[in-house]
């Protein structure tokens, strides 16, 4: 953490202040939550959401690198989360005997989840990044569906004989004392819950570190250049596909890490959890938070996850209101006439507004 302050002192301009704000925001939020938890002021509903929030924040930060900075619409981020989650669960299950302490096992699981998701990202990126625009988006959607299908049909078990795999149908019998790590459509059951909010917060900080350090570097400039003008970027010697791949793989790795943390926060996890809707949800966090704006992404993720909970008293109407809020925000922030109306509504009272 000492290194961090030295980095900040080097730069003073606007972009870098935005970066500083992200870190400050995360740390303040963490302290505030910890104080609330320690003083017993945080309801069980909210405490149970703490780890998932950090997971979605990390996945959204990753997606923002892909969608905001690299400019490629990705409709399959949940697929990478799912790779990370089931990889993390398996790794944790395998290591349960040898690494008994929860935290180191969690960290190893997160790293493995990130690496496997990155490998998936790379393999998927080879075909995907040849395409452009909406075609690229649909292929990421397709890959998300394929990944979901794969996990719906994957059976992995561990016993004294070692690991057992099968696909489509469970064809192996485990020795007594053996454990099914993945059970097809039922997913993972009986997972040891080793995730916690502190590790989640650290993961958010790591994600911010990775993304910001990448953004403000040679690679980040190349990624943004390829987004703004492909032909000009090539003309100054930037290899487009390799550059886009870097953003795509980093994004996938962050989603994988987030997934691993998510998976180890629940005793059961079904592959259906990471479907198209989850990908869309993460995309909504990113777009609402602002493309390329990491601080915004963090805030919008937290708000949008908490919103349905805050609206819980409205019961059935809460998701309807959520939908209306989403549409209204999009209209107000993107339509000039509505934007001016909105601002005049709040003129004098608050600065900035939407």
């Amino acid at each position: 953490m000492k290194e961090k302050s030295s980095i900040f002192s080097r730069f003073g301009d606007k972009q870098h202040r935005g970066r500083l704000m992200s870190f400050v925001l995360v740390i303040i939020a963490y302290i505030a939550v910890e104080v609330l938890v320690k003083t017993g002021n945080l309801g069980s509903m909210f405490s149970s959401l703490l780890v998932p929030i950090t997971c979605y924040v990390v996945a959204a930060i990753g997606l923002n690198l892909n969608v905001g900075i690299s400019g490629e619409l990705n409709l399959g981020q949940a697929g990478f989360m799912s790779v990370g989650a089931f990889c993390g669960i398996c790794v944790s299950g395998i290591l349960a005997g040898s690494v008994t302490a929860g935290i180191p096992r969690l960290i190893i699981a997160i790293i493995c989840g990130a690496v496997l998701a990155a490998v998936f990202g790379f393999l998927i990126g080879i075909p995907v990044l040849k395409l452009q625009g909406d075609y690229l988006a649909i292929v990421t959607l397709a890959f998300g569906q394929i990944i979901k299908s794969i996990f719906m049909n994957a059976y992995i078990g561990i016993d004294t004989d070692g690991l057992h795999f099968s696909f489509v149908e469970s064809t192996f019998k485990l020795q007594p004392g053996g454990k099914m790590l993945l059970n097809g459509p039922m997913g993972a059951t009986g997972t040891q819950k080793i995730a916690n909010f502190t590790i989640g917060t650290i993961l958010v900080i790591v994600a911010l570190f990775v993304v910001y350090n990448l953004m403000f570097s040679r690679s980040g400039r190349a990624i943004m250049a390829a987004r703004d003008n492909r032909i000009a970027a090539e003309s100054v010697g930037i290899p487009i596909s390799r550059t886009k791949m870097l953003a795509f793989v980093t994004s996938a790795a962050l989603a994988g890490a987030a997934g691993a943390l998510y998976g180890l926060n629940y005793s059961t996890l079904v592959p259906n959890k990471f479907d198209f809707n989850t990908s869309i949800l993460i995309l909504v966090y990113v777009v609402l938070g602002g493309l390329g704006n990491m601080t915004g992404t963090i805030i919008s993720t937290v708000v949008l996850i908490l919103l349905p909970e805050l609206l819980r008293s409205l019961q059935d109407y809460r998701m309807l209101i959520y939908a209306v809020v989403l549409i209204v925000i999009m209209l107000v922030t993107n339509n000039e006439w509505l934007m001016t109306k909105w601002k005049s509504l709040f003129a004098g009272k608050a600065k900035g507004g939407a």
Binding site: R218, R221, A225, D228, N229, S235
Partner: protein, 262 residues
């Protein structure tokens, strides 16, 4: 084999031989022979639709030639990509300005150093010492280029917010950052007023002398072309119409006919 065997002692940095490209049935460029020598400023002119920008796109491999050869620095460029060509030492600007609109002016130039001062993404993410030394060097060199193009006061502006003339100069600065041996300028003075054009002429001369590079430029502003080009190639209907010094070109009846019509 029609060969321009008028090769001087020095080998040309760019040697185009019988270059041609067809789009479907349409021949856009045909049988073009052209040389550019080190330190030269060469003009490529011709009426609208003569195929000038197509030649640039062929030289930079945006289009693959149907016929002919392009030698750069003595090496055949066949099979190279746009990126390879830039790495080999050809940089260009675009007729319809192509900046990285959401990046700052300074960052636009910094992108040009992509292959000149490279370091890995890992170095960037971990902020290794090499990151700081490389970024410092990139920053200094980029600021130098901005000063040369008189853009330093705009360094923190978003590139898309620059005035038109400044955007054209920024494209040149970005191209120069890639450390080229040959600079291709596609209508650098388009949209500039006479005073800006005069300044631009000085800049192009300065850049050529300072970086010791060759410049090949497309331009409609005859004052600029005749003022700074040492040699001129005239294209018409994708074919070379004439080649020579500004004086020779100005008095060439074929050229006058092409420009003024029959």
């Amino acid at each position: 084999m029609a060969d321009n065997t008028d090769k001087s002692v020095k080998a040309p940095v760019l040697d185009v031989q019988e270059l041609g490209i067809d789009f479907g049935g349409l021949t856009a460029v045909n049988d073009l022979n052209m040389q550019v020598y080190d330190g030269e400023i060469v003009g490529l002119i011709g009426p609208n639709g003569a195929g000038k920008t197509t030649v640039f796109n062929l030289l930079t491999k945006v289009y693959k030639p149907t016929r002919g050869k392009i030698y750069f620095d003595g090496k055949d460029t066949a099979g190279k990509s746009v990126v390879d060509i830039n790495k080999a030492g050809i940089a260009r600007t675009f007729q319809n300005i192509r900046l990285f609109g959401n990046l700052t002016v300074l960052d636009n130039v910094k992108t040009g150093f992509h292959n000149v001062i490279p370091y890995s993404p890992i170095t960037a993410i971990l902020r290794l010492p090499k990151y700081f030394s490389s970024e410092k060097e990139i920053n200094e060199k980029a600021m130098d280029l901005l000063k040369i193009m008189e853009l330093d006061k705009y360094a923190d502006y978003k590139a898309s917010n620059l005035p038109y003339g400044a955007q054209r100069r920024l494209e040149i600065a970005r191209a120069l950052a890639t450390n080229p041996k040959l600079l291709l300028l596609d209508e650098p003075a388009a949209g500039m007023n006479p005073q800006e054009t005069a300044e631009l002429m000085d800049m192009i001369r300065f850049v050529r002398d300072h970086f010791k590079i060759a410049v090949l430029l497309i331009e409609h502003d005859m004052k600029l072309v005749m003022g700074i080009c040492e040699r001129i190639t005239v294209l018409n209907y994708g074919m070379m119409l004439a080649q020579g010094t500004p004086e020779e070109i100005q008095s060439n009846p074929e050229v006058i006919k092409a420009y003024l019509g029959d």
